[in-house]
């Protein structure tokens, strides 16, 4: 039982990251109706730019953080222009396909300049372990979890308490109607993309300092985790993304312990596949959706 709880705690820690990545990804999916498969790659580009800066200029952590965010946002802007803005509004599939082409592109850029499998990254703080009762916590992990929580909370407040956030939610519900009430679509869409990039960049930075290293598979990894987390708790739902990330983390931690490292990812993907096929509304599925679909056959 204790082991299970410990696993859950470990899962919570990593789940925090997944939640943030999923949050950024879902913002784009929900508000812009865009499946940005290059999301992970943009973050990877940002993180590796930070590493490059660190290797060549010995900057301290604050500046690295700044560079990461900056590059992620720029990469995100590039992807948004190429894969989203210049395509016709209804071409959802083309947007997704285009973004994976850019995913290939950005991955390759990183691989050219960083041929090794993984690279070191400076730590934020020392790896102290804390004990609360029989359960073990990484001090750094807690800090990061708190930061994740604050960030997610800020996004929620932004979405639900500000005019801009309201506009974003309006666009995600009904883009045409939003135009009619005077919402500046291009600005909202660009803003969403930038916010998503910033969140991704922060999460990437936190992940890198926590692990003290980054691998060149990072981009693909982030994209996968975001997709799975977003799907697990219900696609397009922003609250769901955060929950999905945490759930994914907990499931992974437990699979790792009970089944072994090899099975951990397999279980995640199996769950992913099953949820997609059987419960497209996610584990916390929108029962509303299922009922509405039952009433009419097609059309």
């Amino acid at each position: 039982m204790m082991i299970f709880l410990q696993n859950c705690i470990d899962g919570f820690m990593i789940g925090g990251f997944y939640a943030l990545f999923a949050l950024g990804f879902t913002l784009m999916f929900g508000v812009m109706k865009w499946t940005n498969l290059a999301y992970g790659s943009c973050i990877m580009l940002g993180v590796f730019s930070g590493i490059w800066m660190h290797l060549h200029f010995q900057l301290d952590l604050f500046w690295i953080f700044f560079v990461i965010i900056l590059i992620t946002v720029i990469a995100g802007y590039y992807v948004e222009r190429l894969c989203y803005r210049w395509l016709p509004k209804k071409a959802f599939m083309a947007m997704m396909v285009s973004s994976f082409a850019i995913w290939m592109q950005l991955d390759e850029i990183v691989r050219i300049y960083f041929p090794s499998r993984s690279y070191p990254f400076p730590r934020l703080m020392d790896n102290d372990l804390m004990m609360i009762g029989p359960l073990m916590f990484k001090a750094e992990g807690l800090l990061i979890l708190v930061i994740c929580g604050l960030l997610a909370g800020t996004i929620f407040l932004f979405l639900y308490k500000t005019r801009y956030g309201l506009a974003m939610r309006a666009v995600s519900e009904d883009p045409v109607a939003s135009r009619y009430v005077g919402i500046n679509m291009p600005s909202i869409l660009l803003g969403t993309s930038i916010i998503a990039s910033v969140i991704g960049g922060i999460a990437g930075f936190l992940m890198a300092t926590s692990d003290a290293q980054v691998s060149t598979e990072f981009g693909l990894w982030v994209t996968y985790k975001s997709l799975i987390a977003m799907t697990l708790a219900g696609l397009g739902s922003i609250r769901g993304a955060v929950l999905g990330g945490i759930i994914l983390g907990v499931i992974e931690a437990n699979s790792l312990w009970y089944l072994g490292a090899e099975y951990r990812d397999l279980v995640s993907f199996m769950l992913f596949f099953i949820v997609l096929v059987i419960l497209p509304g996610g584990l916390l599925g929108t029962a509303k959706e299922q009922k509405a679909r039952a009433a009419v056959r097609r059309g």
Partner: protein
């Protein structure tokens, strides 16, 4: 014969079709009229299997087709046209009609994979025949999307005819047409459909209804409010009220 009994169709809280019953005899042309939004196209959609009704029954030649999938219903010999025109825009005019034959009794499963040369030649002749009938023979190699509205409506009809159906459901064939074009369309439907198949036609143009239909059914808010010959129906004061309003 098409027999609709006590059909009910709900979309969430909207009662789109309410206790609707109708009998269309073999060889009859039944007109379906009513204000916009009264449920006429929805009725066609239910008959052709796009929507599943919550209650009621639809039978064709005494066989129950309620709740079947559209492809199964098409195999019963039911073809339709669409109010908003639904063609394969990137296929040629010829091909758009040719695809209507996939379901005709002439073509079997194995013909899909191993075309029988002489059969295909016959099929080709049939397609050309329908194109000639609908006046599209000169446009047969053009892309469907390059056709004018009138030509596209005729193409839809040609495709429906290529099914060699027993029942044809025509949805607003003269929508957006001038008086001359309407007359041409009327003549075309008369020529191709009368005495050859059973037909339900949705129309707003009363001239078309009067000249074409044997019987007329009036729908309002999803309910049948009148039925009879065109003359009877147009003289009905309630029908006049629905369309023209009441004098205060």
């Amino acid at each position: 014969m098409i027999h609709i009994e006590n059909l009910n169709m709900y979309f969430g809280g909207i009662h789109a079709i309410e206790n609707f019953s109708l009998k269309v005899n073999n060889g009859e042309i039944m007109g379906l009229i009513g204000p916009n939004g009264s449920g006429k196209t929805t009725l066609l959609n239910v008959i052709t299997g796009i929507y599943q009704p919550q209650s009621g029954q639809i039978s064709v030649q005494n066989k129950n087709i309620t709740g079947l999938a559209p492809d199964q219903i098409a195999k019963f010999g039911i073809a339709r046209t669409f109010q908003n025109i639904r063609l394969y825009p990137h296929m040629s005019v010829f091909d758009n009609v040719w695809v209507g034959q996939h379901v005709s009794k002439e073509v079997s499963w194995s013909d899909w994979f191993l075309p029988n040369v002489s059969k295909e030649k016959q099929c080709r002749q049939r397609v050309l025949h329908f194109l000639e009938l609908t006046g599209l023979i000169s446009r047969r190699d053009d892309l469907a999307e390059s056709l004018s509205l009138v030509e596209q409506r005729r193409l839809e009809l040609a495709r429906a005819l290529a099914h060699e159906p027993s029942f044809i459901l025509i949805d607003e064939p003269t929508g957006g047409m001038s008086a001359n074009e309407t007359q041409d369309m009327l003549d075309l439907i008369d020529l191709t459909v009368r005495s050859k198949m059973t037909c339900i036609v949705i129309e707003h143009n009363m001239e078309v209804i009067t000249h074409l239909c044997d019987q007329v059914c009036v729908v309002n808010f999803g309910k049948k409010v009148a039925e009879g010959s065109p003359d009877e129906v147009f003289r009905d004061p309630f029908v006049q009220e629905i369309y023209l309003g009441r004098e205060e």
